[in-house]
Symmetry: C2
Subunit: 203 residues, 2 copies
């Protein structure tokens, strides 16, 4: 079937949200941990974490428009640091529940029962349950004029990865990590390695 722009505009709001969110396929499910200048922590699930570059090691994610309070955003702006924590199947329920709306003044770590972990002198809280974790410093942001979403770009300051998950080539064993993918806002997918292909270097 073909849906034109005018057809898409006429779709039921939630039908459209479900459809458009899933068009590009499965994404990694990640929890972003942060803390306010006054010490109130926050953890929230994102499906929009993307690779930016390997040198310097850097990472991005997309925030919804800042028309309502976004604690992840305000905390990063206050402290300059955050963590990105891959979601495994064992804590997927808790991870998903971070997307709920909770009372002001209570950390989502407490609300959903995820372990708030501070490592060394890194300023933002890690998710204790996560096997693949990045400590990130804020570098730059780009507001998308079309709809007010914001791309946040940061530098990876440290990696905290469970022993045994990094292969000799540097690849991660995402099967062993029980990594979860998410499509759209609410549909979680398990992943299973099918094939690793070499770099293509033809001609």
């Amino acid at each position: 079937m073909i849906l034109r722009s005018s057809d898409i505009d006429k779709l039921d709001k939630y039908y459209r949200i479900n459809l458009i969110n899933q068009l590009s396929g499965v994404k990694g499910a990640n929890l972003i941990g942060s803390v306010s200048g006054t010490g109130l922590s926050n953890v929230a699930i994102f499906n929009s974490v993307i690779h930016i570059g390997a040198n310097p090691a850097s990472v991005g994610f997309v925030l919804r428009p800042l028309t309502v309070a976004r604690h992840t955003y305000s905390n990063i702006m206050e402290t300059g640091f955050y963590t990105i924590n891959q979601v495994s199947s064992s804590f997927i329920d808790k991870a998903h529940h971070t997307s709920g709306k909770y009372a002001e003044g209570i950390s989502e770590f407490t609300e959903v029962g995820l372990q708030e972990e501070y490592l060394g002198d890194f300023k933002a809280p890690y998710v204790g349950e996560s096997k693949i974790r990045m400590g990130v410093s804020f570098v730059e942001k780009h507001e998308i004029a079309l709809n007010g979403t914001v791309l946040m770009v940061g530098k990876i300051e440290e990696l905290v990865i469970e022993d045994g998950l990094i292969e000799s080539t540097g690849h991660l064993d995402l099967d062993a990590a029980n990594a979860m993918g998410v499509a759209g806002l609410d549909t979680y997918y398990g992943v299973k390695k099918r094939v690793r292909k070499g770099y293509v270097s033809l001609g």
Copy 2:
């Protein structure tokens, strides 16, 4: 294990590329189709397609720095249009081979044997084999100062989706589409739906 920024900087180049590319987990595998002003088509695989918004329906992807010729970029700048085509398992080999370097003047559609399909009066070529496809018009770009990568943002002008893949809620059946995920540059993952959770609306 913990790797600090100074440890990451010292890693072997390819080890670092493999590791850093996979940190955020599995991504959707998508082919972007475009054509130059003189009619030479291009198709290239990307692991960086992200949801931008549902209203207006919009989508983004990240391009490597423009320090070498990027036909996808120059074609989009010339014509204003491109297509994003989800990769299924049946054509994963051809899709991966689009990342090779080919002689100038020959379309990757021809080189790898993917079907170049023009639908209606949409200006950019679709991948005939793909089950979930978007026709996109360029809207804006953002260059990331840290490393010169570019976020490209477009408006979804039309959707071309195989019959039977859209569920009554608007969700896509990515299992039935045999959708592939990719982690890093070279590792493909099959996906299998585990659970769909409702919107969280607590408190």
